[in-house]
């Protein structure tokens, strides 16, 4: 199975890299057009003009724009994201701390959403037109239309306020009454993760469900399903083995859009649950005019999307044996 040649892979890698370079350029222009200056947060009313000028010179704000641009491009590619003026730590440290948390939230939501969505979509597409299909489809669209943070509140109200099953905020218990062992850390983090994951998944499963339902319905009209029926294959086996596998391919295409959608949901939900990830960091940075952090978080999220799109594309070519890339027929 050498359907994915080195040529195709290297071309995709180069395109992804070029995309990241363009995104960096856009980001440079975007952040330079934000109101105020980077050093505003370091100034105090008692500073003299000379001190402000010295500060500007120290952070390189007096250099020509092209020098700033080149420095920016170089620094960002080697992971030098600068210094956060509000938190007074290197931005890189902040991101290294926050990134895994967002990845855990995002990853578990992605897995949950793409396990539930296609499964439900498969049944609905198979039973298209029945009352059950109509009810679940309509309900799914309603959930898709709910504001993510509002779902978060409802989830907190039900599972924390009324039932008291899961904690409602932060990553770990703040003042624990138990010892920190490996086991308690894992259970504690998982119980804190439960509500954010439920909230995002409540919206995220719908996208893949819609696609799966439509394609499943198209697939059920195809010849090989009729043949399988004629052979006397049990209906369940036809649905899962023959129809669903082919209907899965457009779901992989939809995943490219779904990744960005789930990431948006995660950014919002992190703010609802005070979950200390990238989303909370970004919103705090924007509201506090912390430009280095805003810029770096935005960049890292964009890189994350580019990488995941690359992975999805490659997975897509594995899923669909009819697609051949990087070879001249």
């Amino acid at each position: 199975m050498t359907r994915i040649s080195a040529k195709y892979l290297s071309r995709r890698l180069i395109v992804s890299y070029a995309t990241i370079l363009v995104i960096m350029t856009l980001l440079f222009a975007l952040i330079r057009s934000m109101p105020g200056s980077f050093i505003n947060l370091m100034m105090s009313p008692g500073m003299t003009q000379e001190q402000i000028a010295a500060l500007e010179a120290r952070w390189g704000l007096n250099d020509p724009l092209w020098q700033q641009y080149i420095r920016f491009m170089f620094n960002y590619q080697v992971g030098n994201f600068g210094w956060s003026p509000t938190q007074n730590v290197p931005v890189w440290d902040l991101i290294v701390r926050r990134m895994p948390r967002t990845l855990i939230l995002f990853g578990s939501t992605f897995v949950m959403g793409y396990m539930i969505g296609p499964l439900v979509g498969m049944y609905l597409g198979w039973l298209r037109g029945s009352t059950r299909d109509q009810a679940i489809f309509t309900g799914g669209l309603f959930m898709y239309s709910m504001p993510a943070f509002w779902i978060g509140w409802l989830v907190i109200w039900v599972f924390n306020y009324q039932l008291g099953w899961f904690p409602s905020s932060y990553l770990v218990t703040k003042f624990p009454e138990f010892e920190w062992t490996t086991w308690t850390i894992i259970t504690d983090v998982l119980s804190h993760l439960a509500l954010p994951v439920i909230s995002v998944t409540a919206i995220a499963w719908v996208g893949s469900m819609l696609v799966m339902r439509t394609t499943m319905n198209d697939v059920t009209d195809s010849d090989y399903v009729f043949l399988a029926e004629a052979k006397g294959v049990p209906e369940r086996a036809i649905m899962i083995k023959h129809a669903a596998r082919n209907a899965l391919i457009p779901v992989a295409t939809q995943a490219i859009v779904g990744i960005a959608f789930i990431l948006d949901g995660a950014v919002l939900i992190e703010n609802v649950f005070n979950y200390p990830g990238m989303g909370l960091l970004l919103v705090d940075a924007v509201l506090n005019n912390d430009y280095p952090v805003t810029q770096a978080v935005f960049f890292v999220l964009a890189v994350m999307i580019v990488i995941m799109r690359l992975v999805t594309d490659v997975a897509y070519t594995y899923l669909d044996p009819r697609i051949k890339f990087g070879e001249e027929n």
């Binding site: 995309t19 239309s145 960005a260 990431l263 948006d264 950014v267 799109r309």
Partner: protein, 317 residues
Amino acid sequence: MASQQEELSWVDAAKRRWGYRYERFQRGWDQFTTHRLGVVGILILVVFMLWALFPSVFAPHPVNWKAFVGTEGGYLTAEQIRSMPHPPAFGDPFFAPLGTNYNGYGILTELVYSARTALYIGFAAGVLSSLVGVPLGLISGYYGDTWIDETIQRIADIMYSLPFLPLVVVLVAIRGITTTNIILAIVVKSWINNCIVIRGETLSLRENAYVDSAKVSGASDTRIVFRHILPHVLPLSFVYLAQDAAAAILTQAGLAYLGLADFTAHSWGLMLQQIQSQGYVFSAWWWLIPPGIAITLVAAAFYFIGFSMEDVANPQR
């Protein structure tokens, strides 16, 4: 006599010009109404449009009405302030079917007056992203596999890789928090979907014989694209207009939650932002539930219409 002749021919001309269009619309409408969901969506949307157009008819009080003191203005007693946010009341101390918020403003009144912002944002963002995305998609598809197509697709690719909500947050923070800026920031990203779908449709449409015959009879590219191809992709573009509108309304609510709401206009997102900033999320259900349901209903109405139209618009089915 001559004038009558003229009039007849004018009617005939109008009939010939608009008759088949009307029939085509009728056919599409008949197909659309077979979907109960789409009809429900239109009904919901009509209700909210009426709210948006005539809020004073549907709201129980004028927008500056305050519990206990009414519209005249004045001060609440300490006792009265302590009872805020007041649960639903039907005429006992005052009339507020959905209760009041922490300032004593009626929730139902605010709900009705906020419909305008939501629909404005939805329609404006939807129409704008169609106005950008559809022409670009048509051009990109018609000149498929040339440098024009390649350029547009590369731009769309790069825009796809930018995270949507963070981009909107940063753009709104840069440009200032107004409803117009929120709409523009949403459109910056949402035209891409329209563009890509219309491009794919155009790519297959341009292989048709009527495009070739138009070319042979000397029609310019512009005429072929806008007279011969555009009418075929228009229904599909309405599908994406509806979906963009729904997404825009949800995005505005999300922005409002993050503190990036236009504080000069009533909006459902702002109502939810206030309940959070005042700390009544889990104690005032009459204030928490209605704005969320309103947002959900409007967004769902747009999605319902979009999905029902997809069946009408999709020529493959």
